[in-house]
Amino acid sequence: MIPELGNIALTLALVSAILLAVFPLWGAQTNQSGLIATARPLALGMFTFTLIAFVCLSYAFATDDFSLSYVAQNSNTQLPMQYKLTAVWGGHEGSFLLWVLMLSLWTVAVAIFSGSIPQEMVARVLAVLGMVSVGFYLFMLLTSNPFQSMLPFVPVDGQDLNPLLQDFGMIIHPPMLYMGYVGFSVAFAFAGAALIAGKLDSTWARWSRPWVQAAWCFLTIGICLGSWWAYYELGWGGWWFWDPVENASFMPWLAGTALMHSLAVTEKRKVFKSWTVLLAIGAFSLSLLGTFLVRSGVIVSVHSFASDPTRGLFILGILVVLSGGALLLFALRAASLNSVGRYQTVSREVMLMGNNILLCAATLVVLLGTLLPLVHKELGLGAISIGAPFFNKMFVYLIVPFVFLLCIGPLSRWKQQSVKALARQLITAFCISLVAALLIFFSYSEQAYMAVLGLTLSFWILVASVLEVWQRIGAMDSQYSIAKRLRMLTRSHWGMILGHVGFAVTLIGITLVSNYEQERDVRMLPGEQITLSDYTFVFNGVSKTQGPNYESDVGHFSVYRSGEKLTTMMPEKRIYTVQRMPMTEAAIHTTISRDLFIALGEPLDDGAWAVRVYIKPFVTWIWGGGAIMALGGVCALSDRRYRMSTLAKFKKASPLSSATGEHA
């Protein structure tokens, strides 16, 4: 009964999406306010029906309804309740349901928080979101319906969720990532609506800016969580693998970062208009491309869902219609665009343009590295693989000019900046950061010159950020106290500062962990010990324990630092009983300056075990920096001007009544 209800709800959501794609747009083009007014209720309807479908699927998981083949394949009676609920998005069909739920959530959010935008524009934006939705609802219902029934052959028990996914990181990583991916659809919809209306002025940039910031925050958090999850759950000790699926999430992030900056220029200075439109289309297209890569099985990856060419073909169809259509429309409309703003060679506009170019270059590098094996093979040149060395090398080249511009940009003025004043500040900042980097460099016994480069760049950003704040408050009225003046900086300004500082923190983490990581892969008998820098690890043997749906060998390690006992670490080797799948649960001891990481390998003969021990300096800074960046995004979002318009909206009316009785 409940699954049928879910199926019906999904169908009704499709119907709402179709209506949403047609009527409001028709109304906006022919100027019929009755049709324009249908946009908001239809968006709300689409969201409600999708939510019902999602709740139905969750219910089926919670009650072990194995008559649904999706539940039977991804759950099990032994699975703990929290993982039963997260198993809803543990496979292809359910994760897609989450995807469309997010899409409808963004749609309804646009419907609610768009009171200050002209009604025809909202109608067009929602209609474009409707078009995006139609494709995905059709895709779900036709090729990957989670409500597919197994009747009359109902299995007694399910096949269990992939043990890799039975983890806290997995509970929140996909929702965050999808929120980010799908969030770029809003910027796409704004750009699409502006293209359809032929009104490519800077207003659409102002409206879509907070949406891009929100999506970017989610994507940043999602990527960080994914990286963190890979770090402690996969047991490989790495935090980024340049896996095609990681790349698939990284490309929209790079494009989204470029878009966020370009939107600021378009809004403030009314230049780079066509470029911003292109980035808005690009960011969402890359999200779609990511979805395609993960779900079509075109590229081999640890993340791939079970592949099926028809599914891939369907997503490719959606990609071609949406992105191809938008780009075609862009080609027709953008030729007539002229930028009106004027600016000199040394100005903030140019710095931001440079930053955009570098971010796009980085996106292209990732895109090339991900797709080249495929292209190479289809051209009949044989199979090749492109690995981490390529990406690492390219990113080292890109990051130097990128950081340079990142430091200059905030310090320069719009329109025109005196080179002399800028040079003095930059050189001061550079000297301070070089000294700091060298100090750290000499505190390590190993010699790694890349570390000096990475650290200098990171500190340069930090010092330049401080200088920038100093310059700002110096320009303010000196009768206020410094604390007061700091508070007078806008929240979106703080957002920028936090974003840049977060990037520097991540860069410090990456630099130190890549250059000073220590690793030992050893065979250990109980009672043996190894020493890595200051730490001594004593192996006390292995005991067996029983989890709810797994059996586990737990290794016991005592860790001593300079003779003093620091902690006990217990890495595990689990066998999940239903899927007979072995899993490595690494033991990690974290402090702010380093992680100790022990992974238990295979049991060897005569009671010895293969053991991997790492010391990872400053590795948590990588994700900490990501969190600061996301916090910066939240800060920018909470800027006064957005809160004002939202408050005004809330005072007016609730979304439903506003749709009927707007513009009193």
Binding site: S274, L278, I281, G282, S285, L289, F292, S296, G297, V298, I299, V300, P309, G312, L313, L316, L319, V320, S323, G324, L327, L328, F330, A331, A334, A335, L371, L374, V375, K377, E378, G382, A383
Partner: protein, 198 residues
């Protein structure tokens, strides 16, 4: 006019990418396309591993269905499959020829002597069984490169006319033999027997 061209570039690029993605959908990414399959062996003149004065060319393999096995003493999986290969040789009369590959044995910058490797090879073969009719020593490892070898062990099924019929990456175990190699091997041995009659 210049601007018109610029704005068309994105849509053109996108179409190109979409085209490749479409093609990619219908090919298996895990399949290593061996370009050698269906073609004759690349030409070579290489010495025997044990008796370097003896030289082999592709013609040395003609006339009999042969499985060319790329291996080395440094390769653990090679040692693992050796007993099964020996069993195949003894029970079914499969002819294996080794293509010996060793990075450390390069005449210009290797760290091992030929003598030492010969000893290691004899030791290994006497321990795990010797499936090989003979071993060809790929001195500069270029024949392996011509064959598209990416690791060891790899196997090439070669028919009586010296044409490569199959490239199998990885070890041969009972399952692989039954499902993948034996059907072709049977066809080649029987098919060309009738071919020789006609």
């Amino acid at each position: 006019m210049k601007k018109t061209w610029l704005v068309v570039i994105p849509v053109v690029l996108f179409s190109l990418i979409a085209g490749f993605l479409y093609l990619g959908l219908f090919s298996d990414p895990r399949e290593l396309d061996s370009q050698i399959t269906g073609r004759p062996l690349p030409s070579f003149t290489l010495p025997d591993l044990m008796e370097p004065e003896k030289q082999y060319t592709p013609e040395s393999l003609a006339g009999e269905v042969t499985i060319l096995n790329v291996w080395g003493v440094w390769c653990v999986t090679c040692a693992v499959e050796m007993p099964y290969l020996t069993q195949l040789k003894e029970e079914k009369g499969v002819k294996f020829v080794g293509l010996y590959f060793d990075q450390d044995l390069d005449p210009d910058n290797g760290t091992k002597t030929l003598n030492r490797v010969q000893q290691e090879v004899s030791a290994l073969l006497s321990r795990y069984g010797n499936p090989y009719a003979f071993n060809i020593f790929d001195t500069y490892r270029d024949t392996s490169l011509d064959l598209g070898v990416t690791g060891a062990p790899e196997h090439f099924v070669i028919d009586k006319k010296g044409i490569v019929r199959m490239h199998h990456v990885g070890d041969i175990n009972e399952r692989v033999w039954r499902n993948k190699i034996e059907p072709l091997y049977r066809k080649l041995t029987q098919g060309s027997a009738t071919g020789a009659d006609s």
